[in-house]
Protein backbone atom coordinates (compact mmCIF):
# COMPACT_ATOMS: atom_id res chain seq x y z
CA UNK A 1 0.00 0.00 0.00
CA UNK A 2 1.31 3.44 -0.95
CA UNK A 3 1.78 6.04 1.77
CA UNK A 4 -0.34 8.54 -0.10
CA UNK A 5 -2.42 7.74 -3.12
CA UNK A 6 -4.39 10.24 -5.16
CA UNK A 7 -7.11 8.62 -7.27
CA UNK A 8 -9.05 10.42 -10.02
CA UNK A 9 -9.03 13.69 -8.09
CA UNK A 10 -10.89 16.67 -9.51
CA UNK A 11 -10.82 20.18 -8.09
CA UNK A 12 -13.03 22.87 -9.58
CA UNK A 13 -13.57 26.49 -8.66
CA UNK A 14 -17.09 27.77 -9.08
CA UNK A 15 -16.74 31.42 -9.97
CA UNK A 16 -19.11 34.01 -11.34
CA UNK A 17 -17.46 33.64 -14.73
CA UNK A 18 -18.00 29.91 -14.80
CA UNK A 19 -16.34 26.76 -13.57
CA UNK A 20 -12.55 26.82 -13.55
CA UNK A 21 -11.43 23.23 -13.84
CA UNK A 22 -8.10 23.50 -12.04
CA UNK A 23 -7.52 19.77 -11.51
CA UNK A 24 -9.04 17.11 -13.77
CA UNK A 25 -8.95 13.46 -12.90
CA UNK A 26 -5.40 13.07 -11.70
CA UNK A 27 -3.89 10.00 -10.06
CA UNK A 28 -0.49 9.28 -8.60
CA UNK A 29 1.04 7.87 -5.45
CA UNK A 30 4.08 8.28 -3.22
CA UNK A 31 5.94 5.86 -0.94
CA UNK A 32 8.06 6.41 2.19
CA UNK A 33 11.57 7.69 1.50
CA UNK A 34 10.61 8.72 -2.02
CA UNK A 35 10.75 12.13 -3.67
CA UNK A 36 7.96 12.74 -6.14
CA UNK A 37 8.51 15.76 -8.33
CA UNK A 38 5.42 17.49 -9.69
CA UNK A 39 6.41 19.74 -12.54
CA UNK A 40 4.29 22.13 -14.53
CA UNK A 41 3.89 25.74 -15.56
CA UNK A 42 1.70 28.26 -13.78
CA UNK A 43 -1.94 27.21 -13.91
CA UNK A 44 -1.11 23.56 -14.42
CA UNK A 45 -2.80 22.64 -11.15
CA UNK A 46 0.34 21.38 -9.43
CA UNK A 47 -0.25 23.37 -6.24
CA UNK A 48 -4.05 23.29 -6.23
CA UNK A 49 -4.03 19.49 -6.43
CA UNK A 50 -2.24 19.40 -3.07
CA UNK A 51 -3.95 22.32 -1.33
CA UNK A 52 -7.42 21.09 -2.29
CA UNK A 53 -7.48 17.78 -0.41
CA UNK A 54 -5.68 19.24 2.61
CA UNK A 55 -8.55 21.65 3.12
CA UNK A 56 -6.32 24.67 2.65
CA UNK A 57 -8.49 26.35 0.03
CA UNK A 58 -11.77 28.15 0.72
CA UNK A 59 -14.80 26.09 -0.20
CA UNK A 60 -16.78 27.54 -1.91
CA UNK A 61 -15.47 28.40 -4.49
CA UNK A 62 -13.54 25.12 -4.36
CA UNK A 63 -15.45 21.91 -5.02
CA UNK A 64 -14.11 18.42 -5.27
CA UNK A 65 -16.67 16.64 -7.45
CA UNK A 66 -14.80 13.39 -7.71
CA UNK A 67 -11.83 11.47 -6.40
CA UNK A 68 -10.15 9.87 -3.44
CA UNK A 69 -6.97 10.72 -1.59
CA UNK A 70 -5.84 7.77 0.48
CA UNK A 71 -3.41 8.25 3.33
CA UNK A 72 -2.39 4.78 4.46
CA UNK A 73 -5.60 3.48 2.88
CA UNK A 74 -7.88 5.99 4.56
CA UNK A 75 -9.70 8.58 2.44
CA UNK A 76 -8.68 12.08 3.51
CA UNK A 77 -11.65 13.60 1.67
CA UNK A 78 -14.15 11.88 3.96
CA UNK A 79 -12.33 12.67 7.21
CA UNK A 80 -13.87 15.00 9.77
CA UNK A 81 -12.26 18.43 9.86
CA UNK A 82 -10.92 17.63 13.34
CA UNK A 83 -9.20 14.52 12.09
CA UNK A 84 -7.84 16.29 9.02
CA UNK A 85 -6.44 19.02 11.25
CA UNK A 86 -4.56 16.39 13.25
CA UNK A 87 -3.18 14.85 10.10
CA UNK A 88 -2.18 18.15 8.56
CA UNK A 89 0.77 19.74 10.28
CA UNK A 90 1.45 16.49 12.08
CA UNK A 91 1.76 13.60 9.61
CA UNK A 92 1.67 15.80 6.52
CA UNK A 93 3.59 19.08 6.60
CA UNK A 94 3.98 21.80 4.02
CA UNK A 95 6.54 24.41 3.10
CA UNK A 96 5.79 27.20 0.68
CA UNK A 97 7.62 29.34 -1.81
CA UNK A 98 7.95 32.66 -0.03
CA UNK A 99 9.01 32.06 3.56
CA UNK A 100 8.28 35.64 4.60
CA UNK A 101 4.60 35.29 3.81
CA UNK A 102 4.29 31.96 5.60
CA UNK A 103 5.88 33.23 8.81
CA UNK A 104 3.99 35.54 11.14
CA UNK A 105 5.96 38.81 11.31
CA UNK A 106 4.58 39.63 14.79
CA UNK A 107 5.78 36.46 16.49
CA UNK A 108 9.28 35.33 17.30
CA UNK A 109 10.68 32.33 15.49
CA UNK A 110 10.57 30.39 18.74
CA UNK A 111 6.90 30.95 19.50
CA UNK A 112 5.98 29.91 15.96
CA UNK A 113 8.16 26.82 16.16
CA UNK A 114 6.76 25.46 19.42
CA UNK A 115 3.15 25.92 18.28
CA UNK A 116 2.84 22.70 16.25
CA UNK A 117 4.58 20.74 19.01
CA UNK A 118 2.18 21.96 21.67
CA UNK A 119 -0.90 21.55 19.46
CA UNK A 120 -0.11 18.32 17.68
CA UNK A 121 2.26 16.44 19.94
CA UNK A 122 1.08 17.47 23.40
CA UNK A 123 4.46 18.82 24.51
CA UNK A 124 4.73 21.19 27.45
CA UNK A 125 6.03 24.61 26.45
CA UNK A 126 9.39 23.93 28.04
CA UNK A 127 9.87 20.61 26.31
CA UNK A 128 8.68 22.09 23.04
CA UNK A 129 11.24 24.89 23.34
CA UNK A 130 14.03 22.38 23.76
CA UNK A 131 12.77 20.29 20.87
CA UNK A 132 12.47 23.40 18.66
CA UNK A 133 16.05 24.41 19.45
CA UNK A 134 17.16 20.99 18.31
CA UNK A 135 15.13 21.39 15.11
CA UNK A 136 16.83 24.70 14.29
CA UNK A 137 20.15 23.09 14.93
CA UNK A 138 19.36 20.26 12.52
CA UNK A 139 18.53 22.63 9.68
CA UNK A 140 21.88 24.35 10.11
CA UNK A 141 20.94 27.61 11.77
CA UNK A 142 23.79 28.82 13.93
CA UNK A 143 23.14 29.71 17.58
CA UNK A 144 19.72 28.05 17.82
CA UNK A 145 18.93 29.48 21.29
CA UNK A 146 19.47 33.00 20.01
CA UNK A 147 17.57 32.39 16.77
CA UNK A 148 14.51 31.32 18.75
CA UNK A 149 14.15 34.84 20.13
CA UNK A 150 14.39 36.84 16.91
CA UNK A 151 11.65 37.95 14.52
CA UNK A 152 11.38 36.70 10.91
CA UNK A 153 12.45 40.01 9.34
CA UNK A 154 15.84 39.70 11.01
CA UNK A 155 16.62 36.66 8.89
CA UNK A 156 17.59 36.42 5.22
CA UNK A 157 15.47 34.46 2.72
CA UNK A 158 17.56 31.33 3.00
CA UNK A 159 17.51 31.39 6.80
CA UNK A 160 13.74 31.91 6.80
CA UNK A 161 13.30 28.91 4.55
CA UNK A 162 15.42 26.91 6.99
CA UNK A 163 13.07 28.01 9.76
CA UNK A 164 10.09 26.89 7.66
CA UNK A 165 11.72 23.51 7.14
CA UNK A 166 12.50 23.21 10.83
CA UNK A 167 8.89 24.06 11.62
CA UNK A 168 7.55 21.54 9.11
CA UNK A 169 9.80 18.84 10.52
CA UNK A 170 9.28 19.32 14.27
CA UNK A 171 6.36 16.90 14.29
CA UNK A 172 8.35 14.34 12.28
CA UNK A 173 5.90 14.13 9.40
CA UNK A 174 5.74 11.19 7.07
CA UNK A 175 5.03 13.40 4.09
CA UNK A 176 6.51 16.80 3.34
CA UNK A 177 4.81 18.80 0.62
CA UNK A 178 7.30 21.36 -0.63
CA UNK A 179 5.66 23.90 -2.95
CA UNK A 180 8.39 25.71 -4.90
CA UNK A 181 10.60 25.72 -1.78
CA UNK A 182 13.61 27.31 -3.48
CA UNK A 183 12.06 29.47 -6.19
CA UNK A 184 12.48 32.70 -4.23
CA UNK A 185 16.08 31.88 -3.28
CA UNK A 186 19.39 32.48 -5.04
CA UNK A 187 21.01 29.49 -6.71
CA UNK A 188 23.82 29.09 -4.18
CA UNK A 189 21.28 29.11 -1.35
CA UNK A 190 18.92 26.87 -3.34
CA UNK A 191 21.67 24.25 -3.49
CA UNK A 192 22.09 24.44 0.29
CA UNK A 193 18.35 24.01 0.94
CA UNK A 194 17.96 21.09 -1.49
CA UNK A 195 20.96 19.34 0.07
CA UNK A 196 19.42 19.85 3.49
CA UNK A 197 16.10 18.32 2.42
CA UNK A 198 17.90 15.32 0.94
CA UNK A 199 19.95 14.77 4.09
CA UNK A 200 16.86 14.92 6.32
CA UNK A 201 15.00 12.53 4.05
CA UNK A 202 17.83 10.02 4.17
CA UNK A 203 17.70 10.10 7.95
CA UNK A 204 13.94 10.01 8.49
CA UNK A 205 12.65 8.20 5.38
CA UNK A 206 10.07 10.92 4.96
CA UNK A 207 8.34 11.17 1.59
CA UNK A 208 8.78 14.49 -0.22
CA UNK A 209 6.29 15.87 -2.71
CA UNK A 210 8.30 18.51 -4.53
CA UNK A 211 6.24 20.94 -6.57
CA UNK A 212 8.29 23.08 -8.94
CA UNK A 213 8.49 24.55 -12.42
CA UNK A 214 12.28 24.12 -12.47
CA UNK A 215 13.30 21.05 -14.44
CA UNK A 216 16.86 21.32 -13.14
CA UNK A 217 15.71 21.04 -9.53
CA UNK A 218 13.58 18.01 -10.46
CA UNK A 219 16.51 16.36 -12.24
CA UNK A 220 18.68 16.70 -9.15
CA UNK A 221 16.23 15.64 -6.45
CA UNK A 222 13.22 13.62 -7.66
CA UNK A 223 12.94 9.84 -7.91
CA UNK A 224 9.63 9.90 -9.74
CA UNK A 225 8.16 12.73 -11.80
CA UNK A 226 4.60 13.74 -12.60
CA UNK A 227 4.25 16.24 -15.46
CA UNK A 228 1.11 18.37 -15.25
CA UNK A 229 -0.50 20.68 -17.78
CA UNK A 230 -3.79 22.61 -17.55
CA UNK A 231 -5.04 20.51 -14.66
CA UNK A 232 -4.20 17.12 -16.12
CA UNK A 233 -1.37 14.68 -15.58
CA UNK A 234 0.38 14.24 -18.92
CA UNK A 235 3.12 11.84 -17.99
CA UNK A 236 4.42 9.98 -14.96
CA UNK A 237 7.56 7.93 -14.55
CA UNK A 238 11.01 7.48 -13.02
CA UNK A 239 13.13 10.61 -13.35
CA UNK A 240 15.51 9.10 -15.95
CA UNK A 241 12.63 8.05 -18.18
CA UNK A 242 11.00 11.46 -18.10
CA UNK A 243 14.20 13.27 -19.00
CA UNK A 244 15.64 10.76 -21.46
CA UNK A 245 12.80 8.81 -23.00
CA UNK A 246 9.75 10.93 -22.54
CA UNK A 247 6.69 9.70 -24.39
CA UNK A 248 4.72 12.91 -24.29
CA UNK A 249 5.06 15.79 -26.76
CA UNK A 250 4.61 18.41 -24.02
CA UNK A 251 7.36 16.98 -21.80
CA UNK A 252 9.65 16.71 -24.80
CA UNK A 253 8.93 20.28 -25.92
CA UNK A 254 9.35 21.63 -22.39
CA UNK A 255 12.75 19.98 -22.06
CA UNK A 256 13.88 21.32 -25.41
CA UNK A 257 12.72 24.87 -24.70
CA UNK A 258 14.67 25.14 -21.43
CA UNK A 259 17.89 27.20 -21.64
CA UNK A 260 20.82 25.18 -20.28
CA UNK A 261 24.27 26.09 -19.02
CA UNK A 262 25.86 22.84 -20.20
CA UNK A 263 24.88 23.11 -23.87
CA UNK A 264 25.49 25.53 -26.66
CA UNK A 265 22.06 26.47 -27.96
CA UNK A 266 21.97 28.54 -31.13
CA UNK A 267 18.19 28.77 -31.15
CA UNK A 268 15.85 27.35 -28.53
CA UNK A 269 12.86 25.54 -30.05
CA UNK A 270 9.72 27.13 -28.66
CA UNK A 271 6.25 25.88 -27.83
CA UNK A 272 3.92 28.17 -29.77
CA UNK A 273 0.78 29.67 -28.31
CA UNK A 274 -0.24 30.02 -24.68
CA UNK A 275 -1.62 27.82 -21.93
CA UNK A 276 -5.28 26.88 -22.34
CA UNK A 277 -7.90 28.82 -20.41
CA UNK A 278 -9.00 26.59 -17.53
CA UNK A 279 -12.59 27.83 -17.68
CA UNK A 280 -12.87 26.98 -21.38
CA UNK A 281 -11.54 23.41 -21.35
CA UNK A 282 -13.13 21.12 -23.89
CA UNK A 283 -13.28 17.35 -23.91
CA UNK A 284 -10.07 16.89 -25.91
CA UNK A 285 -6.43 17.21 -24.91
CA UNK A 286 -5.73 20.70 -23.50
CA UNK A 287 -2.37 20.77 -25.30
CA UNK A 288 -4.04 20.18 -28.69
CA UNK A 289 -3.62 23.75 -30.03
CA UNK A 290 0.11 23.82 -29.28
CA UNK A 291 1.06 20.25 -30.10
CA UNK A 292 3.15 19.57 -33.17
CA UNK A 293 2.09 15.91 -33.33
CA UNK A 294 -1.65 16.47 -32.92
CA UNK A 295 -4.16 14.20 -34.63
CA UNK A 296 -7.91 14.60 -35.11
CA UNK A 297 -8.72 12.34 -32.20
CA UNK A 298 -6.76 14.60 -29.81
CA UNK A 299 -9.32 17.36 -30.29
CA UNK A 300 -12.18 15.07 -29.37
CA UNK A 301 -11.10 12.94 -26.42
CA UNK A 302 -8.54 13.17 -23.66
CA UNK A 303 -6.38 10.07 -23.95
CA UNK A 304 -6.55 7.38 -21.31
CA UNK A 305 -3.20 6.30 -19.95
CA UNK A 306 -0.81 4.21 -21.96
CA UNK A 307 1.82 2.15 -20.14
CA UNK A 308 5.35 2.38 -21.48
CA UNK A 309 6.51 0.08 -18.68
CA UNK A 310 5.28 -0.75 -15.20
CA UNK A 311 6.37 2.61 -13.78
CA UNK A 312 6.12 4.90 -16.80
CA UNK A 313 2.71 6.11 -18.02
CA UNK A 314 1.82 8.68 -20.64
CA UNK A 315 -1.46 10.30 -21.57
CA UNK A 316 -1.15 10.80 -25.29
CA UNK A 317 -2.75 9.43 -28.44
CA UNK A 318 0.48 9.79 -30.38
CA UNK A 319 2.69 6.72 -30.21
CA UNK A 320 5.62 7.74 -32.36
CA UNK A 321 7.58 11.00 -32.38
CA UNK A 322 9.42 10.58 -35.66
Amino acid sequence: MALLEIKNLQAHFHTRKGIVKAVNDISYSINPGETLGIVGESGSGKSVSQLSYLGLLPSPPLRIPKGEVLYRGENILSMSSEKLRKLRGNRISMIFQEPMTSLNPYLTIGSQLIEPLVIHCGYSKKAAWKEACGALDRVGLPEAEKSMKVYPHEFSGGMRQRVMIAMALTTQPEILIADEPTTALDVTVQAQILDLLKAIQKETQMAILLITHDLGVIAGTADKVVVMYAGSVFEEGPVENIFEKSEHPYTRALLKSTPRIDLHQEKIPVIGGTIADLSQLKSGCPFYERCEYRKDICRLTFPSHREIDSAHRTFCHVESFK
Binding site: D186, V189, P259, V270
Partner: protein, 328 residues
Protein backbone atom coordinates in the same frame (compact mmCIF):
# COMPACT_ATOMS: atom_id res chain seq x y z
CA UNK B 1 41.49 48.91 -34.42
CA UNK B 2 38.85 48.71 -31.79
CA UNK B 3 35.68 50.69 -32.30
CA UNK B 4 34.58 53.19 -29.69
CA UNK B 5 32.05 51.72 -27.27
CA UNK B 6 28.44 52.90 -27.52
CA UNK B 7 28.26 52.82 -23.75
CA UNK B 8 31.23 53.56 -21.57
CA UNK B 9 30.75 53.36 -17.83
CA UNK B 10 33.47 54.50 -15.50
CA UNK B 11 33.72 53.90 -11.79
CA UNK B 12 29.97 54.22 -11.37
CA UNK B 13 28.62 54.39 -7.84
CA UNK B 14 25.07 54.25 -6.57
CA UNK B 15 24.87 54.78 -2.82
CA UNK B 16 21.56 54.97 -1.02
CA UNK B 17 21.46 56.84 2.30
CA UNK B 18 20.21 54.67 5.14
CA UNK B 19 18.28 56.06 8.04
CA UNK B 20 19.90 55.21 11.30
CA UNK B 21 17.20 55.90 13.83
CA UNK B 22 17.27 58.91 16.08
CA UNK B 23 20.14 57.74 18.27
CA UNK B 24 22.62 58.05 15.43
CA UNK B 25 21.66 61.42 14.02
CA UNK B 26 24.46 63.06 12.14
CA UNK B 27 26.23 59.81 11.43
CA UNK B 28 25.34 58.95 7.87
CA UNK B 29 25.57 55.43 6.54
CA UNK B 30 25.11 54.31 2.96
CA UNK B 31 23.98 51.19 1.25
CA UNK B 32 26.53 50.84 -1.51
CA UNK B 33 24.38 49.10 -4.14
CA UNK B 34 26.85 49.82 -6.93
CA UNK B 35 30.35 50.56 -5.78
CA UNK B 36 32.76 51.40 -8.56
CA UNK B 37 31.63 49.59 -11.70
CA UNK B 38 33.35 50.17 -15.03
CA UNK B 39 32.19 48.51 -18.20
CA UNK B 40 32.06 49.03 -21.92
CA UNK B 41 29.38 47.97 -24.34
CA UNK B 42 30.06 47.85 -28.07
CA UNK B 43 27.77 48.20 -31.07
CA UNK B 44 25.71 45.08 -31.69
CA UNK B 45 26.89 43.37 -28.54
CA UNK B 46 24.92 41.75 -25.72
CA UNK B 47 26.52 42.06 -22.32
CA UNK B 48 25.00 39.80 -19.69
CA UNK B 49 24.98 41.05 -16.11
CA UNK B 50 24.50 38.30 -13.55
CA UNK B 51 24.54 38.06 -9.80
CA UNK B 52 22.36 37.08 -6.88
CA UNK B 53 19.66 39.27 -5.39
CA UNK B 54 21.06 42.35 -3.72
CA UNK B 55 24.28 42.42 -5.77
CA UNK B 56 23.34 45.74 -7.36
CA UNK B 57 22.64 44.63 -10.92
CA UNK B 58 19.27 46.37 -11.15
CA UNK B 59 20.56 49.54 -9.47
CA UNK B 60 23.32 49.60 -12.07
CA UNK B 61 20.78 49.21 -14.89
CA UNK B 62 18.65 52.04 -13.58
CA UNK B 63 21.67 54.30 -13.05
CA UNK B 64 22.69 53.86 -16.69
CA UNK B 65 19.40 55.44 -17.75
CA UNK B 66 19.47 57.96 -14.90
CA UNK B 67 16.23 56.49 -13.57
CA UNK B 68 18.31 56.44 -10.43
CA UNK B 69 20.86 59.25 -10.32
CA UNK B 70 24.33 57.79 -9.80
CA UNK B 71 26.27 59.04 -6.78
CA UNK B 72 29.54 59.26 -8.67
CA UNK B 73 31.23 58.08 -11.83
CA UNK B 74 30.76 58.57 -15.54
CA UNK B 75 28.41 57.25 -18.20
CA UNK B 76 29.16 58.00 -21.84
CA UNK B 77 26.42 57.19 -24.34
CA UNK B 78 27.70 57.24 -27.93
CA UNK B 79 30.60 59.42 -26.90
CA UNK B 80 28.57 62.05 -25.03
CA UNK B 81 28.73 62.48 -21.27
CA UNK B 82 25.24 61.34 -20.31
CA UNK B 83 25.48 62.37 -16.66
CA UNK B 84 26.22 66.03 -17.45
CA UNK B 85 23.20 66.44 -19.72
CA UNK B 86 20.32 68.54 -18.47
CA UNK B 87 16.84 69.57 -19.56
CA UNK B 88 16.27 69.61 -23.31
CA UNK B 89 19.65 68.07 -24.12
CA UNK B 90 18.97 65.15 -21.79
CA UNK B 91 15.54 64.65 -23.28
CA UNK B 92 17.01 64.54 -26.76
CA UNK B 93 19.57 61.94 -25.69
CA UNK B 94 17.12 59.63 -23.93
CA UNK B 95 15.68 57.85 -27.01
CA UNK B 96 19.11 56.30 -27.58
CA UNK B 97 18.87 54.20 -24.45
CA UNK B 98 15.68 52.36 -23.50
CA UNK B 99 14.65 49.87 -20.88
CA UNK B 100 12.60 46.67 -20.63
CA UNK B 101 11.47 45.76 -17.12
CA UNK B 102 10.93 42.43 -15.40
CA UNK B 103 7.25 42.44 -14.71
CA UNK B 104 5.00 43.42 -17.64
CA UNK B 105 2.04 43.41 -15.25
CA UNK B 106 3.59 46.36 -13.43
CA UNK B 107 5.41 48.15 -16.24
CA UNK B 108 2.38 48.68 -18.49
CA UNK B 109 -0.26 51.20 -17.46
CA UNK B 110 -3.50 49.21 -17.09
CA UNK B 111 -5.58 52.20 -18.14
CA UNK B 112 -3.74 52.86 -21.39
CA UNK B 113 -4.49 51.03 -24.61
CA UNK B 114 -1.55 49.52 -26.45
CA UNK B 115 -1.86 52.37 -28.93
CA UNK B 116 -1.43 55.08 -26.30
CA UNK B 117 1.31 53.07 -24.57
CA UNK B 118 3.31 52.98 -27.79
CA UNK B 119 2.42 56.53 -28.79
CA UNK B 120 3.45 58.15 -25.52
CA UNK B 121 7.24 57.93 -25.92
CA UNK B 122 6.95 59.26 -29.49
CA UNK B 123 4.82 62.18 -28.37
CA UNK B 124 7.11 62.96 -25.46
CA UNK B 125 10.00 63.27 -27.87
CA UNK B 126 8.06 65.23 -30.47
CA UNK B 127 8.29 62.48 -33.06
CA UNK B 128 4.61 61.69 -33.40
CA UNK B 129 3.21 62.88 -36.74
CA UNK B 130 6.65 64.02 -37.83
CA UNK B 131 8.71 60.88 -38.21
CA UNK B 132 6.23 58.37 -36.78
CA UNK B 133 2.57 57.58 -37.38
CA UNK B 134 0.12 54.69 -37.06
CA UNK B 135 2.04 52.64 -39.59
CA UNK B 136 5.12 52.89 -37.33
CA UNK B 137 3.12 51.44 -34.44
CA UNK B 138 1.74 48.65 -36.61
CA UNK B 139 5.20 47.82 -37.91
CA UNK B 140 6.73 47.61 -34.44
CA UNK B 141 3.83 45.48 -33.17
CA UNK B 142 4.23 43.21 -36.14
CA UNK B 143 7.93 42.90 -35.37
CA UNK B 144 7.22 41.66 -31.84
CA UNK B 145 4.66 39.18 -33.15
CA UNK B 146 1.40 40.97 -32.36
CA UNK B 147 -1.28 41.98 -34.84
CA UNK B 148 -2.49 45.54 -35.43
CA UNK B 149 -5.74 44.60 -33.68
CA UNK B 150 -3.83 44.75 -30.42
CA UNK B 151 -3.64 48.55 -30.67
CA UNK B 152 -7.11 49.10 -29.27
CA UNK B 153 -6.84 46.64 -26.43
CA UNK B 154 -5.77 47.05 -22.81
CA UNK B 155 -2.94 45.21 -21.03
CA UNK B 156 -5.27 42.96 -19.01
CA UNK B 157 -6.51 41.40 -22.24
CA UNK B 158 -3.06 39.95 -22.90
CA UNK B 159 -1.11 37.06 -21.38
CA UNK B 160 2.22 37.61 -19.62
CA UNK B 161 4.24 36.75 -22.70
CA UNK B 162 2.20 39.05 -24.91
CA UNK B 163 2.51 41.87 -22.39
CA UNK B 164 6.27 41.51 -22.44
CA UNK B 165 6.09 41.76 -26.25
CA UNK B 166 4.23 45.07 -25.84
CA UNK B 167 6.91 46.27 -23.40
CA UNK B 168 9.57 45.34 -25.96
CA UNK B 169 7.65 47.20 -28.67
CA UNK B 170 7.52 50.27 -26.44
CA UNK B 171 11.28 50.16 -25.99
CA UNK B 172 11.85 49.75 -29.74
CA UNK B 173 9.51 52.42 -30.97
CA UNK B 174 12.07 55.18 -30.39
CA UNK B 175 14.68 53.27 -32.42
CA UNK B 176 17.23 53.14 -29.57
CA UNK B 177 20.86 52.12 -29.95
CA UNK B 178 21.05 50.60 -26.49
CA UNK B 179 18.53 48.45 -24.62
CA UNK B 180 18.78 47.73 -20.91
CA UNK B 181 16.71 44.61 -20.23
CA UNK B 182 16.25 43.96 -16.51
CA UNK B 183 15.15 40.33 -15.97
CA UNK B 184 12.86 40.51 -19.03
CA UNK B 185 11.85 36.84 -18.98
CA UNK B 186 12.03 36.03 -15.27
CA UNK B 187 8.29 36.32 -14.67
CA UNK B 188 7.38 34.11 -17.63
CA UNK B 189 6.77 30.38 -17.80
CA UNK B 190 9.39 28.21 -19.48
CA UNK B 191 7.43 27.67 -22.69
CA UNK B 192 6.72 31.39 -23.08
CA UNK B 193 10.16 32.43 -21.86
CA UNK B 194 11.78 30.77 -24.87
CA UNK B 195 9.50 32.67 -27.26
CA UNK B 196 10.39 36.05 -25.76
CA UNK B 197 14.11 35.20 -25.54
CA UNK B 198 14.22 34.23 -29.19
CA UNK B 199 12.36 37.38 -30.15
CA UNK B 200 14.82 39.57 -28.23
CA UNK B 201 17.76 37.78 -29.82
CA UNK B 202 16.36 38.14 -33.35
CA UNK B 203 15.55 41.82 -32.93
CA UNK B 204 18.92 42.54 -31.41
CA UNK B 205 20.72 40.92 -34.37
CA UNK B 206 18.45 42.44 -36.98
CA UNK B 207 18.70 46.00 -35.67
CA UNK B 208 22.32 45.61 -34.55
CA UNK B 209 21.31 46.79 -31.09
CA UNK B 210 23.59 46.90 -28.11
CA UNK B 211 22.02 45.34 -25.06
CA UNK B 212 22.71 44.91 -21.39
CA UNK B 213 20.80 41.84 -20.27
CA UNK B 214 20.39 41.70 -16.50
CA UNK B 215 19.35 38.37 -14.98
CA UNK B 216 19.88 36.03 -12.08
CA UNK B 217 19.31 33.06 -14.39
CA UNK B 218 22.68 31.91 -15.69
CA UNK B 219 21.21 29.63 -18.34
CA UNK B 220 19.15 32.43 -19.87
CA UNK B 221 22.12 34.81 -19.82
CA UNK B 222 24.30 32.22 -21.50
CA UNK B 223 21.84 31.83 -24.35
CA UNK B 224 21.64 35.52 -25.23
CA UNK B 225 24.97 37.11 -24.26
CA UNK B 226 28.26 37.60 -26.08
CA UNK B 227 30.08 38.65 -22.94
CA UNK B 228 29.11 38.34 -19.29
CA UNK B 229 29.94 40.35 -16.18
CA UNK B 230 29.40 38.76 -12.79
CA UNK B 231 28.52 41.07 -9.90
CA UNK B 232 28.92 40.51 -6.19
CA UNK B 233 28.04 43.11 -3.56
CA UNK B 234 28.11 46.10 -5.88
CA UNK B 235 31.26 45.21 -7.77
CA UNK B 236 32.09 43.30 -10.91
CA UNK B 237 34.21 40.29 -9.94
CA UNK B 238 34.69 38.78 -13.38
CA UNK B 239 34.02 39.66 -17.01
CA UNK B 240 34.63 37.20 -19.82
CA UNK B 241 33.28 36.01 -23.14
CA UNK B 242 30.32 33.69 -22.68
CA UNK B 243 32.24 30.61 -23.82
CA UNK B 244 35.20 31.31 -21.50
CA UNK B 245 33.00 32.03 -18.52
CA UNK B 246 31.06 28.78 -18.69
CA UNK B 247 34.00 26.60 -19.62
CA UNK B 248 36.70 27.92 -17.34
CA UNK B 249 35.54 30.68 -15.03
CA UNK B 250 38.41 31.97 -12.89
CA UNK B 251 36.83 33.79 -9.97
CA UNK B 252 35.81 31.41 -7.17
CA UNK B 253 32.42 33.11 -6.91
CA UNK B 254 31.70 32.65 -10.62
CA UNK B 255 32.74 29.01 -10.33
CA UNK B 256 30.44 28.44 -7.36
CA UNK B 257 27.56 30.24 -9.03
CA UNK B 258 27.83 28.18 -12.21
CA UNK B 259 28.20 24.93 -10.31
CA UNK B 260 25.01 25.66 -8.35
CA UNK B 261 22.79 26.03 -11.42
CA UNK B 262 20.82 22.80 -11.73
CA UNK B 263 21.08 21.08 -15.10
CA UNK B 264 17.89 19.44 -16.38
CA UNK B 265 19.46 16.05 -16.92
CA UNK B 266 19.37 13.65 -13.97
CA UNK B 267 22.46 11.72 -15.02
CA UNK B 268 24.66 14.82 -15.33
CA UNK B 269 23.06 16.65 -12.41
CA UNK B 270 23.63 13.84 -9.92
CA UNK B 271 27.28 13.40 -10.79
CA UNK B 272 28.35 17.02 -10.84
CA UNK B 273 30.83 18.32 -8.33
CA UNK B 274 29.31 21.29 -6.61
CA UNK B 275 31.37 24.05 -5.04
CA UNK B 276 29.53 24.62 -1.81
CA UNK B 277 29.34 28.14 -0.49
CA UNK B 278 28.79 28.63 3.19
CA UNK B 279 26.38 31.28 4.41
CA UNK B 280 24.73 33.97 2.39
CA UNK B 281 25.33 37.35 0.84
CA UNK B 282 26.61 39.75 3.54
CA UNK B 283 24.74 43.02 4.04
CA UNK B 284 25.73 45.70 1.51
CA UNK B 285 25.32 48.32 4.24
CA UNK B 286 28.35 47.00 6.01
CA UNK B 287 30.22 44.88 3.46
CA UNK B 288 33.26 42.86 4.53
CA UNK B 289 36.61 44.60 4.26
CA UNK B 290 39.09 43.57 1.62
CA UNK B 291 37.56 41.28 -0.99
CA UNK B 292 33.81 41.29 -0.25
CA UNK B 293 33.62 37.60 -1.11
CA UNK B 294 36.20 36.44 1.45
CA UNK B 295 33.56 35.49 4.03
CA UNK B 296 32.20 32.75 1.76
CA UNK B 297 35.23 32.04 -0.41
CA UNK B 298 36.60 28.49 -0.31
CA UNK B 299 40.16 29.65 -1.16
CA UNK B 300 40.39 32.92 0.79
CA UNK B 301 43.75 33.74 2.30
CA UNK B 302 44.69 36.16 5.05
CA UNK B 303 45.46 39.06 2.67
CA UNK B 304 42.02 38.76 1.02
CA UNK B 305 40.52 40.06 4.26
CA UNK B 306 42.67 43.17 4.19
CA UNK B 307 43.02 44.50 0.67
CA UNK B 308 40.60 44.69 -2.20
CA UNK B 309 41.71 42.92 -5.40
CA UNK B 310 41.36 45.24 -8.41
CA UNK B 311 39.99 43.84 -11.68
CA UNK B 312 42.97 42.63 -13.70
CA UNK B 313 43.23 41.19 -17.20
CA UNK B 314 43.46 37.42 -17.24
CA UNK B 315 45.77 35.70 -19.76
CA UNK B 316 46.55 39.13 -21.21
CA UNK B 317 43.13 39.10 -22.81
CA UNK B 318 41.43 42.47 -23.20
CA UNK B 319 38.07 40.73 -22.80
CA UNK B 320 38.72 38.77 -19.66
CA UNK B 321 39.04 40.47 -16.30
CA UNK B 322 39.09 38.94 -12.85
CA UNK B 323 39.13 40.50 -9.41
CA UNK B 324 40.93 37.92 -7.28
CA UNK B 325 44.39 37.63 -5.73
CA UNK B 326 44.43 33.88 -6.12
CA UNK B 327 43.97 33.95 -9.90
CA UNK B 328 47.34 34.22 -11.57
Amino acid sequence: MMLAPVLNVQDLKVHYPVRNGFMNLGKKTFLKAVDGVSLRLFQGEVLGLVGESGCGKSSLGKALLRLQEPTAGGVEVCGADFLKLKGEALRRARPQIQMIFQDPYASLDPRMTVESTLKEPLQAHGLWNTTADMSTLKAVLDRVGLSGKALHRYPHEFSGGQRQRIAIARALVLKPKIIIADEPVSSLDVSVQAQVLNLLKEIQKEMNLSMIFISHNLAVVKYISDRISVMYLGKIVETASTADLYERAQHPYTQALISAVPIPNPRIERQRKRIKLQGELPSPINPPKGCAFHTRCPIAKEHCKLTFPELKPFEASPQWQVSCFEVK
